[in-house]
Point group: C2
Chain length 420, copies 2
Amino acid sequence: MIKIGLLGIGTVGSGVYEIINSETFRNSIDENITISKILVRNINKERNSKYPKDIFTDDPKEIIDNPEIDIVIEVMGGINPAYKYITKALNNKKHVVTANKELVSIYLDELSEKAYENNLGFLFEASVAGGIPIIKPLTKLSKINDIKEIKGILNGTTNFILTKMIDENLSFDDALSLAKDLGYAEADPTNDIEGFDVLRKLAILSTIAFKSKIELKDILCRGIKSIKKEDIIFFKKLRLKIKLVANAIKENNKFSSVVEPMLVNENSTLSTVKDAFNIVSVTGNQVGELNFYGQGAGKSPTANAVISDVVDIINKDFDYSLYKEKNVSSVNTKLFSGRYYLRISEDIKNSEVFNRLKKFNIKYEILSNKDLALVTEHIPANVMEDFIKSMDFKGNDYCYVRIDGALETMKSKEAAITII
Amino acid sequence: MIKIGLLGIGTVGSGVYEIINSETFRNSIDENITISKILVRNINKERNSKYPKDIFTDDPKEIIDNPEIDIVIEVMGGINPAYKYITKALNNKKHVVTANKELVSIYLDELSEKAYENNLGFLFEASVAGGIPIIKPLTKLSKINDIKEIKGILNGTTNFILTKMIDENLSFDDALSLAKDLGYAEADPTNDIEGFDVLRKLAILSTIAFKSKIELKDILCRGIKSIKKEDIIFFKKLRLKIKLVANAIKENNKFSSVVEPMLVNENSTLSTVKDAFNIVSVTGNQVGELNFYGQGAGKSPTANAVISDVVDIINKDFDYSLYKEKNVSSVNTKLFSGRYYLRISEDIKNSEVFNRLKKFNIKYEILSNKDLALVTEHIPANVMEDFIKSMDFKGNDYCYVRIDGALETMKSKEAAITII
């Protein structure tokens, strides 16, 4: 009998409970398995009658110090007290499965090492891209391949907002309100719209792909707040779609990594990713480009990923890949390049922008002179970043977006564009 | 030291040799690993100087009866003598990794059981979809999910031929010749163009997904030979793309499974699959729809899949999923339905076709009266199959293709279509 203690019973936790008790799962594994304790904040709260009454506890010790419990599943989220509980559980020789990207993005190295020392599993498939199996395949791919690139759409909330802005001509604020109304966005949407959620996921993926501890500060992170209705109009004319993209590339022992809005070709794979779906693209020197596409969030898909880790623990299939050392160094955005869309509000003098572009030796084509909008020539990303920094823009009065591999489309449309 | 014996050193075999000896792989695993013997037909043939001279043998016993060899990798293909060698290797307590879809599609149950009895791995990730990790993820998904559908493009040769017919208006014969010239098709392309290659892959995927031994004879298989230039013209007008699709669905304990040309919406994921790329879509009751996309063939991607199995064997991570029993029964194509495109050559009287369609109570809209071409209403697939059987068509004088989930496109285009 394998006994599981569940820390938290929110959406994902209740999905985990359901799968563990499903006929399909029970018939698939040889050993008996049960969730014997669930940690909750309020033990007196009315719960669904499917749960045995004595399963709930408000004392974490009944799980993390309980010698009968073999596996601890953490689905409470946040750094504290999750970090404390997980550390204690590993010290007490319990395997740990977590869906907590915030925690994993910071403590992956430390907790993996602790698990290794204790011959335990510390697995976190559910922390990135919900139901898409990516952590395990990527770990294995990174043993066989020199991984050159990771690219993906990893946040359903922003993808929903941008889709509504494109398809229904909503402003950013209206699209965000709609996302809140429909439960796609939280009351405080900061983590999503500022890109922090994707940042954490990309830090985890990059760490595994590049076999090196990649920290949050190594990744440039920009959210989608600067995208306005008028930008969307230009994007449509350019036949490009705006997406919040996570992108990391490695060349030799250097890497560049960003989370930022990106303009992708209307016919590209990235552009077809809808609403709450996620995509992860991995390019390795042996396997070429692989794409993984599926539901990036939600109760059952995320619970599926948690249970997938439980299966690995039952099969003693936890790979000790440790990422203590930093074998690669960040060169900011230096390895990226592309044409850039730039829009600057009326408050800033066009001549000032033109002078500065000239100083940086950036050539461009003007899309519009009212709110100044232009497309640069193909330039290194760090040149664009330096230009933006030098202009010392404030708040929402500008928007710049890299155009991803869409030069063909651009060329054929250029004539039409410059007349706008 | 882990010693590997390689049966065969063709394209995939040489890729396996290269990865095993690559710095990336060697640095990724704790144990020393070496390919110590390679079985070849002609030991006197001139070989690349990278191979040590004494590595080659033309005596299979030096591998399968060699007590020093731990893992046998079979990349020779075909049923015999591969089946004999693999059986012997398992009896001699050697783990086996194979890329041989023909063999696995028939002997999966028998060889998995033999491996199980001997506490060995029998792994075959490379047998389906080249570099795409699908066997392992699907095995795990099937433990957690009730898998409802598998759908995919699994053959690069036919995908290349159909792409050329669409993009360059080539006839089937010219596109096939081009595929041969470019090395995409073999001298005898029967396995590819008749769909047998995909049939084998679908049998393997269905067996795993439905946890039940699915045999080749359970799957309806039609190749792409009946597609003519004039069909492609109609497909373009309908804004549909023709693809050779593998599709299996399960409802309760019944399943339908086909390999056949299918018409997909121009904006669908399937339609974007290019040349030698493969896609596999898996739908489970918990995880929803997942898509895996990547290079379905080629030296390095396929070798990557082989090495992925080797990693699992080193980690003792081979799951004993056995498929001895048949828990589901085939209901032919009964669970599929859709609108059908039907084109019939001039030799057959239109009135005869109309009468028969009436007899089967199939309503339709005519696209053209010259070579009769029409689109049926949405009907069960088995009704269409029965109609086709009853007409007793010969050879290439007809073409019928199911239209996959593209009704919206159809409706908006119908007015235009009927005037053709």
